[in-house]
């Protein structure tokens, strides 16, 4: 078939690849990609054998089989370790990629082409990240950990140099507890709380920002197991890895309790509850493996997305469809039916793109608080 005009590809927002004349850059580009989802690592973790994947990817995979997807070595969730260096590498590569891509085009001289003043690469930093945490351009590069500022000297080539920010060595010595001015409102805050502060839309500092998330664990669990604590009541959620329940021993009430603790739907039979708990544990635990976690409500939105698509799958009655495919009239019918589905997918993608654009412009004004980790 002619792939050049494939309708499904038209809307794909892939960053442009590096030209073949730069095999090193292509290799670098590939090396920060998770082999399961084939996307740049998100919350990368390593397992025993040394292979790394997105936290959510390997957690789902280990739910299905207890071995490394790359080398077949036995593996289990207990082996998962957060890979902070890889996250930093992925993030900084994502951020510098547009810059380097700009420099690599056109491939005139291989050795350090002079930075062109006209290039405007920083505009599309990290397509993937943008979607996850739609922050303003300026904030996204600074709202992360303090070591990040090293990257600024790459970007600086086309930005009027800001001397205050450029003193790399000094910045690197700061610890998370030191105070620094917020890059947006200049209010002085502990560095570790600046990302949160920006997410909240720069409210004036209140004095005490940390240490209010302790919660009474014992009471929480009591609530969980007595099956009370319905929905919205459980606001203060402990940001701690969820331990997997023993699904064969857990009663539906146990599962419902766990779900309601995180304000999730508690409908359905046991298998539906188990599936939901499993899905949530993957989302929630992998969200703790990153230094830019999503908000709880973003996680919940992701959950309902997954559930909706599962429902669609089920309702379709897969086996029925296969029988249908056996006859030519059935085939024709299928083509007709899936034509609509295809249209729907297309529409979804177009709408998603539109939404994303709006989000980028509107800087996600009404965003919830991000989860605070460590």
């Amino acid at each position: 078939m002619d792939m050049s005009s494939h309708p499904l590809l038209a809307s794909l927002d892939e960053p442009p690849p590096f030209p073949p004349s730069y095999p090193q850059l292509r290799r670098l580009d590939r090396s920060v990609v998770c082999q399961i989802c084939k996307e740049p690592f998100q919350a990368p973790v390593s397992i025993q054998c040394g292979h790394s994947f997105c936290s959510a990817c390997i957690r789902s995979s280990l739910d299905a089989m207890k071995k490394c997807p790359s080398c077949n070595e036995p593996a289990s969730e207990g082996h998962i370790r957060r890979n902070r260096a890889l996250e930093e590498i992925t993030d900084s590569w994502e951020e510098s990629r547009p810059v380097i891509h700009g420099l690599a085009h056109p491939p005139t001289s291989k050795k350090r082409p002079a930075p062109e003043p006209s290039s405007k690469p920083a505009s599309s930093t990290g397509v993937k990240r943008m979607k996850q945490s739609p922050r303003a351009e300026g904030s996204s590069s600074r709202s992360q950990s303090p070591t990040k500022s090293r990257k600024s000297d790459i970007v600086e080539s086309d930005i009027p140099i800001d001397l205050d920010e450029d003193e790399n060595d000094e910045v690197l010595e700061l610890t998370e507890n030191d105070e620094a001015p917020c890059p947006l409102c200049q209010a002085s805050l502990p560095i570790s709380s600046i990302p949160m502060h920006i997410e909240k839309g720069c409210p004036p500092p209140k004095g005490k920002t940390n240490g209010m998330r302790k919660g009474n664990q014992k009471a929480d669990w009591k609530k969980v197991f007595s099956g009370q604590g319905t929905s919205s009541k459980a606001k203060e959620v402990e940001m701690k890895r969820i331990t997997k329940p023993n699904y064969s021993l857990a009663t539906p009430a146990d599962l419902r309790g766990l779900l309601s603790e995180y304000s999730l739907s508690t409908t359905g039979d046991k298998s539906a509850l188990v599936a939901r708990v499993q899905e949530w544990i993957i989302l929630f635990n992998s969200n703790l493996d990153t230094s830019h976690p999503s908000s709880l409500s973003a996680l919940r939105a992701k959950m309902s997305d997954v559930e909706a698509s599962k429902k669609r799958d089920k309702e379709k009655g897969k086996d029925e469809m296969i029988n249908q495919m056996a006859s030519t009239s059935g085939l024709r019918k299928y083509a007709k039916e899936s034509g609509g589905e295809f249209e729907r997918l297309k529409r979804e993608i177009i709408e998603r793109d539109k939404r994303r654009k709006e989000e980028e412009e509107g800087k996600g004004s009404g965003r919830d608080n991000a989860i605070e980790v460590e």
Binding site: M1, M3, E14, C37, S70, N72, K310, I322
Partner: protein, 154 residues
């Protein structure tokens, strides 16, 4: 954009578009992110399938690539499944990569290559033992069959 599958498949499609498929493997249709059909032929003079082309259908669930896609050879008027000791006449395939040996780092093209080499290494055209019995009772989805992988030679 629910789940991993559509995005991942989109990536694979882009890669096929930019790099093409290996020789002897052609993407016949990929109209959506649920079902793709590849055409597979075995290259070289040695093969017993010289001049034959088979259609391999893959169905991707929402949990792809964590879960293996459902893979069968098409058995239609136009395409017949290959005569092979691991391929039943209804198109079902007994191959460990489609069962216990599946890994989420694999992709659609990797499955095609495996199938191609499975055919290439075969020396005699025959159906698996108990083909008729299996085909009579087989579920329409081969993933529901419990397979035994015991023969590593072909």
């Amino acid at each position: 954009m629910a789940g991993l599958a559509p995005k991942r498949l989109m990536k694979e499609l882009t890669e096929i578009q930019s790099k093409g498929t290996p020789e002897g493997i052609v993407l016949l249709s990929a109209d959506d992110m649920k079902e793709w059909v590849f055409l597979i032929s075995v290259l070289g003079e040695e093969t017993i399938y010289k001049g034959e082309t088979f259609a391999l259908r893959m169905r991707f669930g929402n949990r792809y690539p964590i879960e293996v896609p459902e893979v069968t050879f098409l058995a239609t008027e136009q395409y017949q499944p290959p005569l092979h000791p691991h391929v039943y006449s209804n198109g079902h395939i007994c191959a460990s990569i489609l069962g216990t040996e599946w890994s989420p780092v694999l992709n659609a093209v990797a499955i095609c290559i495996t199938m191609q080499s499975m055919l290439a290494s075969n020396k005699k055209k025959e159906r698996p033992e108990g083909n008729d019995r299996y085909v009579r009772t087989a579920p329409s989805n081969p993933k529901l069959t419990r397979w035994h992988y015991d023969d590593d030679t072909v």
